[in-house]
Symmetry: none
Subunit: 196 residues, 4 copies
């Protein structure tokens, strides 16, 4: 085979991306290192220069994709000098399922991989939980919202979305809209008030 040498970081990313796709599409069990290597056009052995085992590769994938998805949300939620309400509007759509660059787009539009999908969703929620909690606290301290149980509220704000997101009948746009409305209402930031 022709031997193509790449920068280590690029190779690593290449392996990460490819295995992500296969893990999602076929599941962990049904995806072999050989499958991954073949798809990249590289020898199996090479994968072991970058990841010490299949399990490590898998958890790297999980981590990487959950992070990819969570990062822009976290950034948006952490912007200074914005009210929670503004942030919610600015957030690149919670667990966005429409943007072709996101994991959700790639996966939700696939058959199979249901389990994987659920697991990544859960992981994203976990990542967002402390962030939302912090933002709620801040908004609460500044009098923007009035809630008693911070944690419970954060939990419902984040996990509550899952049911809608997993809804196969709804179009992506609609999902986002309904979630946003519900959140604003839940937090007492409804449109009506906001016009004041």
């Amino acid at each position: 085979m022709i031997r193509i040498t790449k920068k280590p970081e690029d190779r690593k990313q290449e392996i990460l991306d490819t295995s992500a796709e296969l893990f999602y599409t076929q599941g962990y069990d049904k995806t072999s290192i050989s499958d991954i290597a073949k798809k990249i056009g590289v020898s199996q052995g090479l994968c072991y220069r970058y990841f010490s085992s299949k399990e490590e590769l898998f958890s790297s994938v999980l981590e990487y994709y959950a992070e990819m998805q969570a990062k822009p949300m976290i950034s948006a939620l952490s912007e200074q000098d914005k009210t929670l309400r503004q942030k919610l509007y600015g957030t690149p759509t919670f667990l966005d399922t429409e943007n072709p660059d996101t994991y959700y787009y790639k996966i939700c539009h696939q058959a199979s991989g249901k389990a994987m999908h659920d697991l990544v969703s859960m992981k994203i929620c976990q990542k967002l939980f402390p962030v939302i909690k912090k933002q709620l606290k801040k908004a609460s301290d500044q009098g923007e919202i009035a809630i008693s149980d911070l944690e419970a509220t954060a939990s419902f704000c984040i996990y509550g979305q899952l049911g809608i997101l997993l809804h196969p009948d709804l179009a992506g746009k609609e999902k986002i809209e309904r979630i946003r409305e519900f959140l604003l209402n839940l937090l007492g930031l409804d449109t009506v008030e906001s016009t004041l």
Copy 2:
């Protein structure tokens, strides 16, 4: 080996229970049919009289335990002649994690099996979704609650609990309490109002 013959239904249940435990404790991959058979004290071949493949066994376990957990909740939520508020109080604690007979008790008190736990949780939520939706509709029609988006509300009511339930720091009792309070508040059925 001494040959012990049991009633097919008992054997099937025995296999179901044992494999559930092992799948939870060790994960799907790390649990072999041989492990399961050994734990029961039976030949591997026997498992295949009752389940045609390991995958079928696994999904049977998932289905069975989600059903076990969801059934009492669904019953409680479906009782006639009760207000939604009464039902919420009567429900055997949403996704109960304290009752030693429930799946959650067995599993949550284990290390590992996180993935499995997530998957069963998701499945339970899926099962509860249509039930809650129906009950909300009913309560809405009867004027007990006033909500605009039934589906979104149902989703938040059910999935929203996950974050709290998965919270490792909280005791079971407390979880239930906070969830119940939040739900009543979310639906406008708070204690204050209810005393009217």
Copy 3:
């Protein structure tokens, strides 16, 4: 299951017939005792009352069907007071492939089972060999034919047919006709002479 008791000899034959069909259609390996039992509508255990092992069952089948096929030919060839020529005309068509009651009909009109087919063919030839040899000897002694190497002639008379019989392009009737003509010619019993 309803328990149907039959006469041992009938049961044995039933098992023989059914397993024959399955062995031919699917091959020895791919046919399990359970398949056979299921097809008859009987328990696997029962097969072991009549045949001590799968291998014994298989060789019984081979023997039985080769015998079924060879017997009428042998009878025809062994009739007293007939010339070889008459016998050849009277023989129920060598390795008959058209008669619906024969093994050949059942098998030749099936896909798969090529190997099995070859093996049964070989076995039939083996059974016919000594018979034909004897008849050739007799005809030779009586001056009906004049041949030097009895064994070689017998071999060619019998095995020589295989190529034609296995010919997929030819219709059954035609096969028989061409074989008979060739044989008569080979033995110097051609039609022309016979009219004398």
Copy 4:
């Protein structure tokens, strides 16, 4: 275990040869991939780099050995500028059973493997059929022989030999001699004529 790397083509051939021997000696069923690997001194897994399944390995063996045996005969029969009679004399003895390099030598001198032997024999005959047919046509066109039914003649010439070849009582040399004589006679190329 010491790791010995070989050229793929050599390894493949090694596996082919070894499995051929075992399939012949013990039969398909009784020969496991593990047996084969053990005999070569290699891991079972390696066999699957070269043959995708046991069945594929088996049919490769069948094909390979039939081809090995048929090739020299076909060459001899296809030589230009020779009469059919000369070719028959030159052919490396039909289905030669004496040459230590041939499959027949290895196998015929073994117990068991009868079935395998029959199958390879059949396959060789199939390969020779069209070649012989062509040669008979040519000889017929050139007036060397006079036959009416080309196909039937070819079939008898080839398959007819089987009975003799499978004869356990005859020595190899004798078999060849008797077959050759019979063929020449059958085709009307007997010694007498040839002296003209």
